[in-house]
Amino acid sequence: MDTKEALFKYCLRLADNNLVLGHRLSELCSNGPILEEDIATTNIALDLIGQARHLYQYAAEVEGKGRTEDDLAYKRAEREFYNTLLSEQPNGDFAVTIARQFFIDVFDYYFYKELLNSKDERLKELAARAIKEVTYHLRHSTQWILRLGDGTEESHKRLQTAVDGLWMYTGELFEMNEVDEILIKEGIAPNLNDIKTKWESKVSEVLAESTITKPEDGWMQTGSRKGMHSEHLGYILAEMQYLQRAYPDAQW
């Protein structure tokens, strides 16, 4: 694998993460628990899909085969998606939505901070834009973790269940493969081991404050770096890609 191919796959991974999580959150549009939260969640979904678009555009340029951002989003099959299993997990109750969001927000926050030092100018620009959005996302999900964890008996129980249930998907956030190795050497991508340390410390701090017990690290789910997904991604793509599959190249 050369640097170009690694960069292409790397951009796809980052874009897929944002697109799939953005899509999940968009499912809550008009279904939020309260009006204000409905708008907040939809705002975050839009931020993520915006980040995904920029990354797909860049991926398409790097690939240089004439594909567009839409081709990459709508015309790849499930096994060609590299988003984390965590990002595709269903919304569940509000505690699950918030726990999933919090784990990813903490990751994104430290990740994009590191990506600001990338030697790749485009990724650096993307990070500069994303970090402002992600800083707010993290603030939003952190405030909810604190309130649900340290809220009522019911909200505490639900959040603890959500955190316990999603924990096995968090290990995958920090998995690295050949793509990372090549790009770390070039100074383009951050080393996810460094992010992991920061992630663990932040997550421990917030969970402790919210009176939620941090689960023990046990067996961790894996697969997405190779395009292996949970059963949920197929349904997401079926819905997301339906129009382009049924009416190829349909235009507005």
């Binding site: 309260i34 204000e36 907040a40 705002n43 603030r139 939003h140």
Partner: protein
């Protein structure tokens, strides 16, 4: 029998569109506490770059005039046109008054 209101407290939202300008009432949000009120206000009322700063105030803390007092409060001003600064000759060359 009145239905019990089980919603979170109501907060009034004021937004400053530019530094130096007064805060204008934008609307209201429900929120359990002040930090969430601020976040909700940000999410609901500043999505299209409407502001640079936000105030949120518990609606209960706002004292409003009573519509019944309208005559006594505001009508006496109607026949006092001299309170408007319209009887002065503008000095020549003063553009920004």
């Amino acid at each position: 029998m009145s239905k019990q209101d089980n919603q979170w407290p109501l907060w009034e939202v004021f937004i400053q569109s530019k530094t130096g300008l007064p805060y204008k009432h934008a609307g209201s949000v429900h929120a359990p506490d002040k930090e969430m009120a601020l976040q909700n206000a940000r999410d609901v009322y500043t999505r299209r770059s409407e502001g640079t700063s936000i105030w949120v105030v518990l609606s209960d803390n706002i004292v409003a005039s009573n519509p019944d007092d309208q005559e006594a409060f505001f009508d006496p001003a109607n026949d006092k046109v001299y309170r408007h600064p319209t009887f002065y000759v503008m000095p020549e060359g003063a553009k920004h008054i």
